[in-house]
Point group: C3
């Protein structure tokens, strides 16, 4: 039954990834909007539009790019490179072109992967006006000398950068941020997998009342993350934890990438929730939008969850990153991992013992066996640990680590003590910089 | 000669433990008072009485319990369970009872250990009014159906909780606290062993003028420790080190249990004094009164010294914890270990180099060889280390650890420098929270 | 060509050590002045004279010592111990003597090394007025009973202690201190090697404009270092790094001795510059003038560079520490090691990212490839690391360690970012106590 549900969940995740897969996304434009609309049919996403030319820290929102058609035609009029066949064929953000070139003139514009002759590479030129095509190396090699007609029916004009956002308020204003990049065109793992898992996660979180508030952002990489940071700068101190979600459908092991600061609560929570089969890797300043969120001016407590890592699988940034690379099982496992992280974030409270001088009388509150002389039960032991360590500096996970008890045992001891009014919740040691000793 | 003295010391310790063994102690009452009186015949103990009903943090001092006799009699009038035979037979704090019951009614009141059929368990019911008996499992199994007469001539009435205290002033007000629980009835290791060793230790400490002040408390577990804490709350900041003393007569290895905070001076001193054959175990919030002393509202620098640990030997909390379990040799070794800890606490001073800019001229003070060119002697090396590290942050034990020199060598170098007025004593880095890097 | 230059450098270093070797140095006097003059012919050394009797912390500058001749003559008038043959024959600082003694009276004044019968030991008596001779054990054993004439034509009179100093100003006032002891008589490794390497290092540093300021001090051990410290106490906070240079010509491996505090920038820089074949040893308060510079009242960030360590080679403090022990190759390697340390100190800047919120647009500054989709080049990766970590707390060496990139790669990335005005130099985390996590 649980297995069947898991399978159902996997199928649903896969189907949504497959629905998003064909759309030609970019960092602006209608493909991005269509993607946000599809997500918006599942969760109440609010779409934001940041106008072309808006200054975003060191950057400026570029002209909006849209494309209707693009092809290279030989002198017989055959489309030897055809955007309609695969949207990776066109260098993303190619300017409009109508020209006739010799093969020699054309070749520098045709990108291919000699070592992977059957795969189309993914290339972009967001910030330098240019154009080009990507194709299979063996097809490029087969091109005969002659005249070729290039037709790119694209537009670069004033418009906007779009991103979608969903805030799910909890009982506290402490916020967990999830960010997924939504700018890559037909690449399944990178990142229709992340979009699909994040969408399902948001729906699951919204399905129950939570202690923490949650915020999901779906937007283009780099410039989208920066635009969101710029518009939300005043609210960043509320972010207590976060994850960038990407590459969640491939068969690689779940991989947590630590925050820049290291030692944040998420850096302990995520590995604990993922368990022994997952990998934890140190921070580095390349990758997805953890780059922006962890820049020294923000230094947010935001890690990253992927399966394989960027650049870490052969199909990365090629047409082989297609729907055959991702599986319902991997997507479902990724979603469950995110859910476990959320559960642990919810549950890993910091408490203050309201009776810190000596032990409180557990017996009179029905929390301790009445007959003395025999050793304590594990539940009693857990209560003593929680009372002893609850000074506002140690979370339940810290207590579990120190005591060697299961997190669930410590958590239920804390709940019993809370019901007995022997604990009160605490905001944790230092807002925005909570550390949990491992 | 030293061996003979050690044997004498062991015999004396054993004899006093044996003297205390038969007394039926509890957390209040005349057995406890008789115990304090016996200790008071050896050291000038001051007895304190805390009246029934006194509020002690989350607790209240209970009614005082005393017992004259208790038995279960069969229909032939034979005492099939007899408090006179062993005071463990009665559940400690049993209310007065005079009743006749069938065997079926009686059985739930009769505690036994099926897996140890020859041992009487130790059970208490301090805070829930109840009654019961403890007996050997094979005797319980032999009871025939029939009517049984229960006679418990105990009293629960207004009275007081007693504890004994001895303060031994030293040259400084910095205090070392020793706490031993005095509430267990006829259990030899737990804790006539601790009471005997603590009494001898106090006598030994009082026999010489010391740098530090010492305070010994003998009282009932939990409520006694809390009552003492409540009455002495203003003076707790003076406590710079401490040990709970218990289970010091069995053949297990000496075992030091660390403080809650860890890294306190006692946490370095005790393992160093005990040497390589002793064990050091991490803090946990169960055990003896280190629980109360290390609760988050006090967080005192108090560790614990035992041989076996609570629950760590089969005879624990049974009649088999009798005088055959403890030995003069083990008691004597425990006392010597306590003395070594005290010596090291006394000797492990923090100094400040009064000549901190460059090295002082040791030669003109007769502390350094006059002829240069050959390497320094170990005594000279030790003086250089002490001068270099004595900035008030590093104790002599720290210097011994860093230099790799013997503590005694470092200590005698410091004494030579002190005589030469090149050092002055320092209170250590932070009152009440001195840390010694290991 | 580089090898040839290295050989030339080695020869030059060796020749200067050989030039200094015969001079009879001491902690005062004309031998010390002649040594400073010889150094002063190579670098613009300023000589300082501290008058006899000057108080220097716990010390006083002693009477100046000079010696013209010294010998022990047998009754045939043969010089059986002859200062003219080797200046180690005379106990350094021997008072003037003209006396005739029996062999029995003389023997306690004749120091020898029975276990090394061919070597003359080096002995001093700076602070206790005395006299004596040092000789080979086999020659001492050959002395026949009889009368011996002792002639020591030395003087102990009012004068001064000399030291030489060279300050090389840089663009900042942050200073690097190099100290070499110049008081040992004819001992080649200890320390004409250090004097020669320090002199060449000073000339090399002065040959280019540097970021840091440099200060070289050549003076007698202990009292010379203390005199310099006394006269420069106000300027000590400027010292950000330093090295004592000594024993740099023997065949042992380069050995860095850490500062008292440990974790200073020099403690990371020096091992990194020296590479894997060098040794790093912990601080101890014996050795050369790191003793004084690292006394608790100064606690300067000054380590020490030697090859073998004091007392660490058999010829130490004997006549066998002669010009055959040191080699041009070892001296040249030591100089290069010092130069690499200086280069790394110069280059290991702390920067602050002027664009800390998100990543700056490297592409528009020509620092990043225009075509997106492929992974970053190592230079781009290095720029991302430098931008991400440059918060004023992390030096370039820290960034190299954290990223796993070569220091040179990180350094050139920082230079590119500096040219692009994306970084500004920072003074480092805490003046005078910069720490670099390893």
């Amino acid at each position: 039954m649980a297995a069947a549900r898991a399978t159902d969940a996997g199928a649903e995740l896969y189907d949504f990834a497959a629905e998003l897969y064909p759309i030609c996304r970019s960092i602006t434009g209608n493909g991005l909007r269509a993607t946000l609309d599809a997500i918006g049919r599942r969760i109440p996403l609010k779409r934001h539009e940041v106008p072309t030319g808006t200054r975003v820290f060191d950057w400026k929102v570029p002209l909006e790019w849209n494309v209707e058609d693009a092809a290279v035609l030989d002198d017989a009029g055959r489309r030897v490179v055809d955007f309609q066949a695969h949207n990776l064929h066109l260098v993303n953000y190619s300017e409009p072109v109508r020209a006739t070139l010799s093969l020699a003139e054309l070749l520098p514009r045709l990108h291919a992967l000699p070592e992977r002759p059957d795969w189309i590479p993914y290339r972009t030129s967001y910030y330098r006006r240019s154009w080009g095509f990507c194709m299979r190396a063996h097809e490029r090699a087969a091109l005969r000398p002659g005249r070729y007609r290039v037709q790119i029916q694209s537009s670069l004009g004033k418009g906007a950068l779009s991103y979608g956002e969903l805030a799910i308020p909890g009982r506290t204003r402490d916020e967990v941020l999830f960010f997924s990049h939504a700018c890559h065109p037909s690449l399944a793992n990178d990142n229709t997998s992340g979009l699909s898992v994040a969408t399902a996660l948001a729906r699951w979180i919204a399905g129950a009342r939570r202690r923490l508030s949650y915020r999901f952002v779906f937007g283009p990489g780099t410039i989208g993350a920066l635009a969101w940071l710029k518009r939300n700068e005043q609210r960043l101190p509320r972010i207590r934890h976060g994850l960038v979600l990407a590459l969640l459908g491939d068969p690689g092991p779940l991989t947590y990438k630590m925050t820049r600061a290291g030692g944040r609560e998420i850096d302990v929570i995520a590995p604990h929730a993922l368990g022994a089969t997952a990998h934890t890797i140190p921070f580095n300043p390349y990758g997805y939008d953890e780059r922006q969120l962890n820049s020294p001016g923000f230094n947010l407590p935001v890690g990253r969850l992927t399966r394989s890592v960027n650049g870490g699988y052969p199909q990365y940034h090629t047409s082989a990153d297609d729907l055959s690379l991702i599986t319902p099982a991997a997507l479902a496992e990724s979603l469950r991992a995110c859910q476990r992280i959320v559960e642990l974030l919810e549950e890993n409270e910091y408490y203050v013992n309201r009776c810190p001088k000596g032990e409180p009388r557990l017996g009179k509150r029905g929390l301790y066996g009445a007959l003395g002389g025999a050793g304590p039960k594990v539940e009693e032991e857990a209560m003593l640990w929680v009372l002893n360590q609850s000074d506002g500096e140690h979370s339940l996970l810290h207590i579990a680590h120190r005591s060697g008890l299961e997190f669930a045992t410590v958590r239920s001891a804390a709940q019993a003590l809370l019901r007995a009014r022997l604990l009160r919740p605490s905001g944790g040691p230092v807002p925005g910089k909570r550390r949990v000793a491992a």
